[in-house]
């Protein structure tokens, strides 16, 4: 699309936003768990409906599935214009794993029926999805899963336990990886099924994290059922489905390292100057810290530029690019370093847990720092990404560890 057309689109988008975004929500986010406060609940709902009518909950999805059929540059324009007025597209948040991961995978592997039933209700934020992938004894070794699904008439009967199911306690549907052939080789007996959560056979138990929050659950399947029509992709070929799904996951995590994603209005260096002060030459008084802040800001900028470059090189289609592993590790490194610096800069104000002695931002930084330690673990750990880069991108021979 030519630049001119894009600018026309930008003007239209800004105009629509001006008329439709509830001003009461300006500058408000949704928090890690996608919660909304009582006093704005009605406005969030209005905003959701308007976004849905416009198809902007998942703007790049086809219109027939609840999207707006827009290009990636157009979607970026919308995000930019929203950013200018403090608006957030909260549908990807309230849809759980729906917009970012399950939806794109259904788009690719789903039957027409599955697409028609599931996608519009994801794009509208009506249905929250969780993912049942990891199991207690198979952390990074996803293919080692043992949750079993047996065909029983028109349904699958599911038994087993999942862990790290994000938001399972508040989701209506779950995309689950299950073993459908115990005799086949590890990766050849796995299927991907879509499972309704509201049934007796499923029990969820939130896991309290070191940050104090409980965004994940243990999920127990005890003769749980789903219809045979909810099999996504061919039987026993769930491994290909989940590989694709994980590529979408990595892609969704690459933005974490960019400054905009950190949510703080003041730059790191300004915050550092506030806490630490400056020396006679106007430099951050703690010379050692200054150095590491500079390195971090350079790393963050290098990461942003790399996202930009790879996006441009892929002509807008990086979602399943080979670069996702690089970007995931880089994003994680930048975000975790920033979280550590946030703490260090604030000194004894940076180590609080609760109470008036600490500001909301200070306490939030601690929780973000703790929660952020998971970034290098989930969605394919730091080590797993390095295995992928080494084997799939660099073509080095298989090590003892399989991806």
């Amino acid at each position: 699309m030519a630049n001119e057309a894009l600018e026309t689109f930008r003007a239209e988008a800004a105009e629509w936003l001006k008329n439709n975004f509830p001003s009461t929500l300006a500058g408000k986010g949704m928090g890690i768990e996608g919660e909304m406060t009582e006093d704005t609940r009605a406005d969030w709902e209005t905003w959701r409906q308007r976004l849905t009518e416009k198809g902007w909950g998942a703007p790049t999805w086809p219109k027939e599935f609840g999207g707006a059929g827009l290009s990636h540059p157009e979607a970026k324009v919308i995000a930019q214009e929203m950013g200018k007025i403090g608006a957030v597209n909260h549908i990807p948040l309230i849809a759980g794993m729906g917009v970012t991961m399950v939806g794109p995978t259904i788009m690719e592997y789903g039957t027409d029926d599955q697409k028609a039933r599931h996608l519009p209700r994801i794009a509208s934020g009506e249905i929250r999805w969780c993912l049942g992938l990891s199991e207690p004894n198979a952390g990074s070794d996803l293919a080692g899963l043992s949750t079993k699904a047996e065909i029983d008439g028109d349904t699958f009967r599911i038994n087993g336990q999942k862990v790290w199911t994000s938001g399972a306690d508040i989701s209506q549907w779950c995309g689950a990886l299950v073993r459908t052939d115990s005799n086949a080789a590890k990766r050849d007996g796995i299927s991907f099924v879509l499972v309704p959560m509201d049934q007796e056979g499923i029990e969820t138990r939130p896991i309290k994290l070191i940050s104090g929050a409980s965004p994940f659950c243990e999920t127990f399947f005890n003769d749980a059922r789903t219809d045979k029509s909810e099999l996504l992709g061919p039987l026993n070929q769930g491994w290909s489905v989940v590989k694709r799904l994980l590529q979408h996951e990595r892609q969704s995590q690459t933005q974490a390292g960019t400054p905009r994603a950190t949510g703080s209005r003041k730059s790191l260096q300004e915050k550092a100057k506030d806490y630490v002060g400056t020396d006679a030459m106007g430099r951050l008084a703690d010379a050692d810290l200054r150095n590491r802040v500079a390195r971090h800001l350079m790393d963050a900028q290098a990461h942003s530029l790399t996202i930009g470059r790879i996006t441009a090189e892929a002509r807008g289609n990086v979602e399943v690019s080979a670069a996702a592993s690089i970007l995931k590790n880089s994003a994680t490194f930048v975000a975790q370093t920033r979280a550590e610096l946030n703490l260090e800069i604030a000194g004894s104000q940076g180590v609080g847990w609760e109470g008036d002695h600490f500001s909301a931002e200070e306490l939030g930084n601690v929780k973000d720092w703790l929660f952020g330690k998971a970034m290098s673990i989930y969605g394919g750990s730091f080590e797993v990404q390095n295995n992928i880069i080494s084997k799939n991108i660099l073509g080095l021979p298989e090590t003892t560890q399989k991806d």
Binding site: G144, E344, S348, H357
Partner: protein
């Protein structure tokens, strides 16, 4: 650098078995979950007093055993391993050091025996802002009768809620390192108030307010206006002791990780057999051995009254701090998901790590100081 003596090795063994049996990390969890007043169990503290741990650096004439800082470090290391909560470090090391360095004979006789018998809990009240800055005291001490009147706030005071005495650095004149005076202030003095600071490691930190607190001449520790050099000596003893505690916390994190590497199976193999993790463990172990040398050297230098205590203390706090920092992150990373859960202990070590790093100057503080001490 000497190896530990037989006596020190024996004390280590005793401390290790007491801590492991009587005060393992589960006890810390219990304390946290119950939100115990003062952030430690009184019976833990009594047991320590009974074992004589409160008198390790105190000369015999004040009721102690005078075994020295390196010996104390051995005990602190074991406590650090299980995150044992008590005012042992704050009072029997830091507080006692203040008396030893700056107290006159009367003050020593009055307070040290109480530190040893556990009836007094003496702690340092030095910092006023978020960053460690011993020369930045602004708490005012004005001449008042025979003594002084103190007005101002101290923050991040270790075991501040249960302390019976504060060693307070106050401004009696000048600026920066000049014009600082140390005071010993009873927590019961009129005008002293305090509030708990809830840190993520559930240790007993407090803010302390001094609102026109009258302190008699007998409450002045060391020379008026000349307290800064003494304060630095006291802090170095505290920092060196903290280095030992940090080493213990990090060493336990290493041991937990090594154990996990040997037992956790992924991809059909024990994960410690993956070379990338095996080498990471090797490098962390190397870092630990180097850190241990620094921690012990600083304590030994204090015992020997060496002239490079400041240099070695900054070395210890920085190198052990770096190891603790890296090790606490790797503790979580290598444990994966399980390490992220509150149910598992890893998070305690990660949270405690940052508190220990921050207290009495973080790694950056001590690297800057080391460079200054070496004049560049």
């Amino acid at each position: 650098m000497a190896a530990l003596t037989e006596e020190q090795s024996m004390i280590r063994d005793q401390a290790k078995s007491w801590v492991t049996e009587q005060s393992p990390v589960q006890k810390f969890r219990e304390m946290r979950d119950k939100d115990v007043d003062g952030s430690y169990f009184p019976e833990t503290w009594s047991a320590m007093v009974d074992m004589g741990w409160t008198g390790i650096i105190v000369p015999e004439q004040y009721g102690g055993s005078d075994l020295g800082y390196l010996t104390f470090g051995v005990i602190l290391e074991e406590c650090g391993r299980q995150l044992t909560a008590s005012p042992l470090f704050a009072s029997a090391l830091a507080g006692a050091s203040a008396l030893l360095v700056a107290g006159n004979e009367d003050q020593k006789q009055a307070v040290l025996p109480k530190i040893v018998d556990g009836s007094a809990i003496v702690t340092l009240a030095v910092d006023e802002g978020p960053r460690h800055d011993p020369a930045g005291a602004r708490l005012k001490a004005e001449k008042s009768g025979d003594g002084y009147m103190l007005t101002g706030d101290k923050t991040f005071v270790l075991e501040g809620m249960t302390a019976t005495h504060f060693v307070v650095s106050a401004r009696t004149g000048g600026e920066g390192e000049q014009g600082i005076t140390l005071f010993l202030v009873p927590a019961t003095a009129t005008g002293v108030s305090r509030e708990q600071v809830r840190t993520m490691d559930s240790r007993g930190y407090a803010n302390v307010h001094f609102d026109g607190v009258e302190v008699g001449a007998d409450g002045v520790l060391g020379p008026v206006d000349g307290g800064y050099p003494l304060l630095e000596q006291i802090l170095d003893r505290a920092r060196a002791g903290m280095g030992a505690e940090m080493l213990g916390t990090a060493a336990q994190a290493f041991d937990m990780t090594l154990e996990y590497l040997k037992t956790r199976v992924q991809f059909g193999k024990v994960i410690g057999s993956f070379q990338a993790l095996g080498h990471r463990a090797a490098m962390l172990f190397t870092q630990m051995e180097l850190a241990r040398s620094c921690a012990e050297a600083a304590l030994q230098a204090i015992d020997e009254n060496a002239d490079n205590v400041a240099e070695l203390t900054s070395l210890s706090k920085a190198k052990v701090g770096d190891f603790l920092h890296d090790m606490s992150n790797q503790l979580i990373q290598i444990h994966g998901g399980i390490g992220m859960t509150d149910e598992y202990d890893a998070g305690f070590y990660l949270k405690r790590a940052r508190l220990l790093e921050t207290t009495f100057g973080n790694q950056a503080f001590h690297r800057n100081r080391y460079a200054e001490l070496l004049n560049f």
